[in-house]
Amino acid sequence: MNLAQTRIGQIVTVAHVAGEGSFRRRLMELGLVPGTRVEVIGVAPLGDPLELLVRGSSLSIRRAEAEGVSVSLGEAASAERVPGTAGRAEGNSALAARGLARSAP
């Protein structure tokens, strides 16, 4: 299913983000990466755009673009479960434990 098919109040997890290059990148930069919990907060009275809650912040996109975001119902237990982010998350959290990884300039 995709984000545009989600009912108000439903909590879903992002599986994949599709869309035009720079717009898709901006969506992901605003936190909509695979594995992220998203809640559909509301729809504008005229039916478009949608209001989403992503990482504790509000984000509104139009229905046409929301159709490009495929989601699965429910909340993933943690980001590590999602393929593609797993190894990285572990690698970086290990680094984070020592403060941020540093490289000599």
Partner: protein
């Protein structure tokens, strides 16, 4: 909006060196809606300087901050960088953030970047922070709006440890944490260079980065860390059809080929997901408890249940917009009248004390009238920006865009274009200034180009005169007043044409790629009055400084056009009073003046001759040379048409309700003795006024806002053509139908 290859994007080193030696340069960067501007105002007080970023119409605000370091005073320069969610960019205006941070493209090199984050939205805000940390620039984090997260405050020292940069909790709105922030600025300026953050990206991406880094121009690779960070930036910014400026062709080619060879790999996702993974892993340590749905948001959502309700929401929205429009349209009137009164009092004073001469006329009619013509815009500008300030600050402006986006989208416009468009019904000048609330150049330009088609208040006196003179006060079906109906029809007509023009221009002249909407509905907050007042003041000052002189010069030129050459003998004022709204406040004796002997002085002026010269062009529209002269005079401001036409008929200080002028228009005869002005010609004239760009001030403001000659000329061209064709269709079509 084409791609420009600037010769070099690197900073002038001299400027950078001077920056560190004299006054250190401190940037304020951060996401939109983090209170960055409030913090800037708090730090710099009332001494903000406003300029533009090099090569682009984006406001650059800077100000001085005095630090008390061990008893010694030290001044630093603070610059407010436009809000950005990320450093990656696809357009020149998004590129500003990176250029400012690195001191590129004629920007001075900063000594410190204060990144302002919303303490309640750390997860999203930290994304930009990771990008800044990957660059080897000096960073200080201001954890702003700390007052809003009292129930679940982030751990400042843990955050500082995680990021490896100093962090200070602030509340810019109430002024909390400012002295700590100032101390931290002083301390951070003395810190040794920071080592850059190195995120572990997938190994395939690491080798891509090396290939891109090898193609970076030498100014971009000052250090290993910087070339890695810039390779990342280039790889996630450069596209086949981006609108970035100053990108080296070799780098562009390399990025595109690396992307093409990535096959099934998703480079954007690899980069962004790795950064978020780093943030996600740390977040549980930063907050006492991790909330997926913070309390502040829930409160906002409860308010939204009313304000975005299909029925109540729209009712409140319409009410608020009517209130704003009413204030622009009517409440500004006393102030406008006062300005006009002062203008004519000044003119009268000079006339009473200076003997009749050409210099006196220049001063009273040209200069004083011209200054009045500029100042008269201030009440509406101040009121509109007061409303905009309150709407923006409270968070309601984003809701306006949210509510109206569905409609505005159909026109190819952004939801944020609604408020400027609505203001266009009062006056195009403040409306064009209000387009600054839109982020994208394309949206701003498109809105600017269509706003002058809305029926502004200056067209009303013209319509009133024409309707009053040429249309009988009869009733349709016995009860519908024809005159009132015509007025409403003119409003509907102009709105309809504006919407069509937006649709057409958005697909032709102002192409630029349409970027899908991304909107943030920030939590509702109490608007800050001081912030709003200082913004009103800045806008007004900028209008006077940037557009004022141009409007003044053109007003004087128009005065001269309609005053020279002067007739040998003069027994009455020879020139049109150019000040807006002739309310008959001048010498009452002039009102009683008998019609001047023919021909009137204005007829002999260059303007009058020009009116006669263009008569053949205007004939097909039903206009004669007298209307032509009125049209020329109307360039100063549309309502000047009325007083100019009055002067053509030898009636001093006519206004739209002056009976002699209406009678003159009615009695005017063509060569064959039939009435020269028919209702059909009146309709044609009103259509012409509805569509033409008879306003020097609008053109001057568009010139200043677009920093180009091309766009105001284009606007004048398309509007005049539209007006001519539409009037021609009305007049000739009406004649064919036998009117």
């Amino acid at each position: 909006m084409t791609q420009q290859q600037l010769p070099s994007v690197s900073a002038p080193r001299a400027a950078a060196a001077q920056g560190s030696a004299e006054t250190p340069l401190v940037l304020l960067v951060g996401n939109p809606n983090t209170g960055k501007t409030t913090l800037f105002n708090r730090l710099t007080g009332q001494n903000a300087r406003i300029g533009n970023y090099p090569g682009i119409t984006v406001e650059r605000r800077s100000g001085d901050l005095t630090l008390d370091a061990d008893g010694a005073q030290r001044t630093v320069c603070v610059v407010d960088v436009p809000g950005a969610y990320s450093l990656s960019a696809r357009s020149a205006e998004e590129q500003i953030a990176l250029s400012a941070v690195l001191g590129w493209a004629e920007n001075p090199r900063p000594d410190l970047c204060i990144v302002v984050v919303d303490a309640g939205q750390l997860a999203r805000n930290l994304y930009l922070v990771t990008q800044l940390l990957e660059l080897d620039v000096q960073v200080l984090l201001a954890l702003n709006m700390i007052d809003e997260v009292r129930d679940n405050p982030p751990n400042v020292s843990e955050l500082s440890r995680f990021l490896g940069v100093p962090c200070v909790a602030t509340d810019a709105r109430h002024g909390t944490g400012l002295s700590e922030l100032k101390r931290a600025i002083g301390a951070a300026l003395a810190l040794p260079p920071r080592t850059a953050l190195r995120i572990a990206y997938p190994s395939a991406l690491e080798s891509d980065l090396e290939r891109v880094a090898a193609a970076l121009p030498s100014e971009w690779s000052e250090s290993k860390a910087r070339s890695r960070a810039l390779a990342l930036w280039a790889l996630t910014s450069i596209e086949v059809d981006d609108e970035l400026q100053g990108i080296d062709p070799a780098l562009r080619a390399r990025c595109l080929s690396v992307r093409a060879q990535a096959d099934a790999r998703d480079i954007d996702q690899e980069v962004i997901a790795a950064r978020y993974a780093l943030i996600d892993a740390e977040l549980p340590k930063l907050y006492p408890r991790l909330e997926a749905h913070p309390k502040k948001r829930k409160t906002s959502e409860r308010v939204d249940r009313v304000l975005l309700h299909p029925v109540f929401g729209f009712a409140i929205f319409i009410g608020l917009m009517l209130l704003m429009f009413q204030s622009l349209f009517s409440w500004s009137d006393p102030a406008i009248r006062l300005i006009e009164f002062c203008t004519s009092a000044c003119a009268n004073f000079v006339e009473a004390h200076v003997p009749e001469s050409i210099v006196r006329d220049l001063v009273t009619r040209g200069v004083i009238g011209g200054v009045g013509n500029v100042v008269v815009f201030l009440p509406q500008i101040l009121l509109l920006f007061f409303c905009i300030g309150i709407l923006e600050d409270s968070g309601y402006m984003a809701r306006v865009a949210f509510l109206m986006d569905r409609i505005m989208k159909a026109l190819g416009l952004h939801g944020r274009a609604f408020v400027p468009m609505l203001s266009g019904f009062a006056c195009a000048v403040p409306a064009i200034l209000a387009t600054r609330t839109m982020e994208r150049q394309r949206d701003r330009l498109l809105t600017m180009l269509v706003v002058p088609l809305m029926t502004c208040s200056a067209r009303l006196p013209v319509y009133t005169l024409i309707i009053g003179a040429l249309f009988p006060p009869s009733r349709l079906f016995g009860w519908l007043p024809v005159q009132g109906l015509l007025m409403i029809a003119m409003y509907l007509f102009s709105t309809f044409i504006t919407l069509i023009a937006a649709g057409v221009l958005g697909r032709t002249a102002v192409k630029g790629r349409r970027i899908p909407l991304i909107l943030e509905l920030p939590p509702y907050r109490l608007p800050s009055l001081t912030g709003t007042l200082s913004m009103m003041w800045r806008r007004a000052a900028m209008f006077l400084k940037e557009a004022g002189s141009g409007i003044l010069v053109f007003t004087i030129l128009l005065w001269a056009l309609l005053s020279f050459p002067r007739p040998a003998q003069l027994d009455q004022p020879s020139a049109p009073a150019i000040a807006i709204h002739q309310q008959g406040t001048l010498d009452p004796a002039q009102q009683a003046h008998a019609p001047a002997p023919q021909p009137s002085p204005i007829e002999q002026s260059y303007g009058g001759r020009l009116g006669k010269a263009i008569e053949p062009v205007l004939r097909p529209l039903g206009f004669d040379w007298k209307i032509g002269v009125g049209l020329i005079g109307a360039f100063a401001a549309r309502e000047v048409f009325v007083s100019t036409l009055g002067l053509v008929y030898g009636i001093g200080d006519a206004d739209e309700n002056t009976t002699p002028l209406r009678d003159k228009i009615r009695q005017e005869q063509a060569a064959d003795g039939s009435p020269a002005y028919s209702p059909l010609m009146g309709l044609s004239l009103m259509v012409f006024f509805a569509l033409s760009c008879q306003c020097v001030s609008t053109l001057m403001v568009v010139h200043r806002e677009t920093r180009s000659i091309r766009w105001p000329l284009f606007m004048f061209g398309y509007m005049t053509t539209l007006a001519y064709v539409a009037s021609l269709l009305v007049y000739q079509g009406g004649r064919l139908l036998g009117f």
